[in-house]
Symmetry: C2
Subunit: 335 residues, 2 copies
DNA sequence: CGCCTATGAGAAACCGATTTCCCAGCAAGA
DNA sequence: TCTTGCTGGGAAATCGGTTTCTCATAGGCG
């Protein structure tokens, strides 16, 4: 069979089914009135010809491009790619595609990317980043289409999605407790980060106000340094909850170098479930997974609802985290 | 100023400039014939009204959607996000946007994503992955638009882009030599990987056939294991080129645990310039950067050329790698 | 048996641009 | 003065669908 030189159009289907294009359109969209026989005939013709409607044409008249934009400034893709994957998975069955761009931190580039997206008549926008408490260099005030913020800061009256840092931290801390660890410490990132504050707050709520909380940066080096401080005056804690997998890795490495057995003497929990770090740590990290893919899916669901005109209450929605049990704590996952 | 309820259309511009839409269109596109005065008048009207053409409408009549699709199966985004970023940066100034999706390894999902992209009339496709010698679960044989493969396997007669593994490996090995390291070894990934074979081949070409090449997996654990093997019979090499930053990190850690000073006694070079690993290693890794962003840009350039109908010779294009000097080798970057 | 209504289907306008003619008007040449 | 030849600009078709009307027909009812 020769390859079709041009795509099958609705008029081809209409001709094959011996109806007008108007009827064909209505038949395939389930609108209008006609006998079941006619509708079936059109559907079969469409099927036989392998008809796929031209989304451009459809968009032009229906004023719906079936496209949403995803804007990120997370150049490493660590947070963004799972979100994007969930987003497009949630939307593909509605025929919706995702236009994506990375705007780094340059407002001009951001503006250009945004404008080309708006020219393409995207039905909605999802904005995502690498930090929940700072905004992208992007002025969305004039934008009239729905916007959902995921994992980044938006205006107060915006629809925002994020992981439930406090719940995740609670999960981790309780897990340490359930393993019989009674002297807990928390090693996390800079206090300026909302994520760090939320996690620290939840840690304190579970572990008690006496349990030490050490703020530093998000690096492995800080994990080393924190262990040095915790063990400076004799015995350290027997359970350490870390604000990120990188810190946790630094902590575990430092403990090993110090001759402290993990998980024999000390249990360590991380945060992020960043495979590449968590799996390479010896022993592999028990850690909190933020469910980024799920955040992407939910962002898709929400942006679609907004596009459909459904009312969505503004505010921050926190999606629950999940504990992933590996070797750094001892214990086995609860059934 | 009240927010515009509806976008400015070409007809609005035409009315403001007191010409027909046909003339307005020609004026703004630099086509047709008219006095400079008329053209300027239209341009000023467009400027004043903030006119931005509706890309849908333009696409419908010009048969160009100004959109390209990016398909990946790299769920972690480690390779893909830089490529996507370069791609969209290369195209945004032409008004071209990138439709992106992640198809994992599921042919059905791949098919659905591809179909919705084709329905959107993408002008071209860029396919990228996490491995240069395996193909995505995607049948592109019926696709009539241009396709560029980046960092993944395509058909033999396709336009394919990839990093120049051999050149990068040569760079690394020569760097070790230039630092006076004479007993070199190469620790890399599985021999099934073309990337591993290419790098190993280049290493052997520079270091000589006697220099040991150890294949394992791409993990830190393998780095440890390899060091154990290399030092099993007395003194090991004084320079180690690793096939990935993860392996290099394992090697460096193992050397430290063994009391071997890096870079004092042994120099280590990695491959990937994966910030998060390279920077966290103690000392930070000197490593080979594959220029993924540049691969993305070049993919953009090529796909655009193909869309414009320019002839592009099929075959594999290898883009040069770059050595990033940090602390794991000693030495300072060449001026 | 005739009028009224419900029903199935098509004609045509429309979405917002691009592009192909076509025409009016003016200057130059006969 | 009358043609010829450009020129600037506009009318209208087109891209491929959606949607609103309109209309012919058939059946129900009095």
């Amino acid at each position: 069979m020769a390859s079709a030189p041009t795509r099958v159009r609705l008029s081809d289907v209409a001709a094959a089914a011996e109806v007008s294009v108007a009827t064909a359109s209505k038949a395939l969209n389930g609108t209008g009135r006609m006998t079941d026989e006619t509708r079936d005939r059109v559907r079969q013709a469409a099927e036989a010809l392998g008809f796929r409607p031209n989304a451009m044409a459809r968009a032009l008249s229906s004023q719906r491009s079936l496209t949403v934009g995803l804007i990120t400034n997370d150049s490493y893709g660590r947070f963004t790619l799972p979100v994007m994957s969930g987003l497009s998975a949630a939307l593909v069955d509605e025929g919706i595609s995702v236009l994506m761009c990375n705007v780094e931190d340059d407002p001009d580039s951001a503006r250009r990317h945004l404008d080309t997206m708006l020219d393409k008549q995207v039905d909605g926008l999802v904005v995502t980043g690498r930090r929940i408490d700072t905004a992208l260099p992007l002025d969305l005030s004039g934008v009239t289409i729905p916007v959902v913020y995921a994992f980044t800061k938006g205006p107060d009256d915006a629809v925002t999605l994020t992981a439930d840092d406090a719940q995740g931290a609670g999960l981790a801390t309780e897990w340490l407790g359930s393993l019989g660890r009674g002297r807990l410490a928390h090693v996390t990132g800079p206090e300026e980060f909302a994520a760090a504050r939320l996690r620290a707050g939840a840690f304190a709520a579970v572990a008690g106000p006496g349990a030490p909380v050490l703020h530093g940066d998000w690096s492995e080096a800080w994990g080393h340094e924190a262990v040095a401080r915790l063990w400076a005056a004799g015995d350290g804690p027997d359970g350490i909850f870390c604000g990120s997998d990188q810190i946790a890795r630094g902590v575990v490495d430092a403990l090993r170098e110090r001759g402290v057995d993990v998980p024999g003497q000390v249990s360590v929990v991380g945060f992020d479930n960043w495979q590449i770090v968590a799996a390479a740590t010896r022993p592999p990290l028990t850690t909190v997974d933020m469910g980024l893919n799920g955040i992407g899916r939910e962002a898709g669901r929400l942006v679609r609802a907004l596009v459909e005109g459904e009312a969505v209450a503004p505010g921050v929605r926190r999606l629950p985290c999940r504990l992933v049990v590996r070797g750094s704590c001892g214990g086995t996952p609860p059934a």
